[in-house]
Amino acid sequence: MEKMKLKLLYSDLKADIDIIEKELEIALNSSSHLINDASLHLLQAGGKRIRPVFVLISAKFGHYSIEQVKNIAVPLELIHSASLVHDDVIDNSDLRRGRHTVKAQWNNRVAMYTGDFIFARALEYVTSIENKRVHQILAKTMVEICNGEVIQIEDKFRENQNIKDYFRRIKRKTALLIESSCELGAVVSGLDDKNVRHLKQFGYYVGMSYQIVDDILDFTATDKELGKPAGSDLLQGNITLPILLLKDHPTIAKFIELAQKGEVTEEQRKEMLNIVRKSDAIKQAITVSNQYLRKALKEVDALPNHPMKKKLRDIALFIGKRKF
C-alpha cells in the first residue's frame, strides 16, 4: 500500500520509470542462467526505486533527456541492489521484503558473485557517460558507503557509542547514495553549480530522514509489514537512534547483552518491542527525522521555480511520514 502511494506521487514520471525498469532488466541479462535467476529474483522483489526517481526529478531542473539521465539512474539502482545482496550475506539475512534473499535461496558464494556481477554491470553501464566528474562522484560514493559499512560492523554492540556516531554511520549507509542520486541527476542535465549543491543537500537531508524512519519502523512496524522480525536491527547489534535514546533503560541494556550472546527468546524480543514502542524514544526520533525534513524542504525553497519543486516536497514528506 505504502509503495503504491509513493508510486502515485510520481505517476507523471511513469513512462520514464518504465524505461528505467526495462533498462535494469537489460543490464542484468547474463549468459549464466543462475545469475539471470538471481537477478530476476531481485528485480521482482521490487523496491521503491527512490534513487532513480530522485535522479529523474533532479535532472528535470536542467536540460532533461531520459536517454542521458537513464545512464546514471540505472547504475545507481544497480549499485543499491548489489550492495543489498552483499549486505544479506553480512547480516545472515534469509528474508528481505518478505522474499528469500539470494544467499538463502542459493548460498553465500552465489550471492557474492551475483553482487559482483551487478556492480560490474553498473559500472559498465555508466561508462557511456564521459564526464569525469560523474565518475568521481560515483566512485567516492561507493568507497564511502563501504567505509560506512565497515564502521557499522565495528560499532555492533559497542556500548560507548553516541548519537554523533549514529549520524556518521547513517550518512554513509544511506544518505550518501540518495545525495549522489540528486547531485548526479543535476550534473548530467547540466544544471549550474549552485543548484546542483541545493539538490545534493536536499538528497542528504532526505536520506538522513529516510534512514531514521527506517530505524524507527524496525521497532514500530509488524513482522509482516517488514517482511522480517521486528527488532532485527538490534538483534544483530545495530544500535539505532531509538535505542541510543533509551540506552540507560535497564531492560534494554540487558537485552543488548543477551542479543550479543545470541540468547534472545521470542518473549524477550516482544518485551523489548513493547518497551521501545511505549517509550518517548520513538517520538524523539521522529522529531529528529522531521528536523532533517525541514532542512530538506529549505533546500527545495532555494531552487528556481519549477513544477518539480512540489514533487520533491511531496516525496520528501512521504518518506518522512511513511508507515513501513
Binding site: I90, N107, A120, A139
Partner: protein
C-alpha cells in the same frame, strides 16, 4: 635482468597495490590483499620486455591488481556461514577494493579501462558461478572457465594498451600453472569446487580426471614451449616462465 630482478619488480608492484588499498580496520581483521604472483608477472610483462611504459600504464596495472584482490576476497567467503566478524569484513574488503579501483581510474578519467574491466569482471563472475549451476559442462568448457578466471582482466588491460601480442603466453601459461596447482591438490587429496565438477564431467565420459589433467598439462607445456621459441620475449623472461612451470 635476471630472476631476482623480476621477483623484486613483482614485490615492488605488490607493495604499490597494498598502498593503494590500505585500510586500517580491514588490515587488522582481514590482513593484506591476496594476490597471485603469476598474474602480477603478466601485468608487468610488457614493461619487463621493454614496451613503452608510463605512469598512467603503471597505475592502470595497479588497478587491475586491485580488481584481482577484490575478487579474491570474495572467493574466501564461506558458502554457508559468513557470520564471523572476519568473514563480514572480508565481504566488505572486496567491495572496498572494488570501489578503490574505480575511484583511482575515475580520478584520471580512464573510462576505457573502467569499461573493459567492468565487462571483464562480469564475464569472470559468469564463469565463477558455473560451479553452482545444475548444467553439466564438458572438460573443454571447464578449461575455458579456468582460463577466463585467471586471465580475463589482464587480457582487458592488454587490449586497452595495445599489448595483445602477450595474450598467447598469458592464456597458455596461467592455465597451465593453475592446472598444475589443482593437480597437486588432487594428489594431496583435496578437490576444489571446480575440480569436483570436472571430475563429474570426466566420469560421465568414462574418463579419469587425473589422466585428463595430465594430458592437458603436457599439451599446454608443448604449446608454451613452441610459443616461447618463436616469441618476441627477452631470453631472461623466457627462462623465468620456463622455470615457473618446471619444464
Amino acid at each position: 635482468m635476471d630472476a631476482t630482478y623480476i621477483q623484486e619488480s613483482i614485490e615492488q608492484f605488490k607493495t604499490n597495490i597494498f598502498m593503494h588499498v590500505r585500510h586500517r580496520t580491514l588490515l587488522r581483521y582481514v590482513g593484506t590483499p591476496v594476490l597471485n604472483e603469476n598474474q602480477l608477472f603478466y601485468l608487468l610483462l610488457p614493461f619487463l620486455n621493454g614496451e613503452t611504459w608510463n605512469d598512467q600504464i603503471g597505475e592502470s596495472a595497479i588497478t587491475v591488481g586491485i580488481v584481482h584482490a577484490s575478487l579474491n576476497e570474495h572467493d574466501k567467503i564461506n558458502e554457508n556461514n559468513a557470520t564471523t566478524k572476519e568473514q563480514q569484513l572480508t565481504v566488505l574488503s572486496g567491495d572496498y577494493y572494488s570501489g578503490r579501483y574505480y575511484e583511482i581510474l575515475a580520478q584520471v578519467g580512464n573510462i576505457p579501462l573502467i569499461k573493459q574491466l567492468s565487462e571483464g569482471i562480469a564475464n569472470r563472475c559468469e564463469h565463477q558461478i558455473k560451479v553452482y549451476e545444475s548444467n553439466s559442462y564438458s572438460l573443454d568448457e571447464w578449461y575455458e572457465t579456468i582460463s577466463v578466471i585467471q586471465t580475463e582482466l589482464i587480457k582487458r588491460f592488454y587490449q586497452v594498451y595495445g599489448f595483445e601480442q602477450y595474450s598467447t603466453f598469458l592464456h597458455t601459461d596461467l592455465l597451465l600453472q593453475q592446472l598444475q596447482k589443482e593437480m597437486q591438490h588432487i594428489q594431496d587429496g583435496h578437490y576444489s569446487s571446480i575440480m569436483r565438477k570436472m571430475s563429474d564431467s570426466a566420469l560421465a565420459d568414462g574418463k579419469s580426471l587425473e589422466q585428463e589433467l595430465q594430458n592437458k598439462i603436457d599439451a599446454l607445456k608443448d604449446l608454451l614451449d613452441e610459443n616461447l621459441r618463436s616469441s618476441i620475449l627477452k631470453d631472461e623472461l623466457k627462462l623465468y616462465i620456463k622455470q615457473k612451470v618446471a619444464f
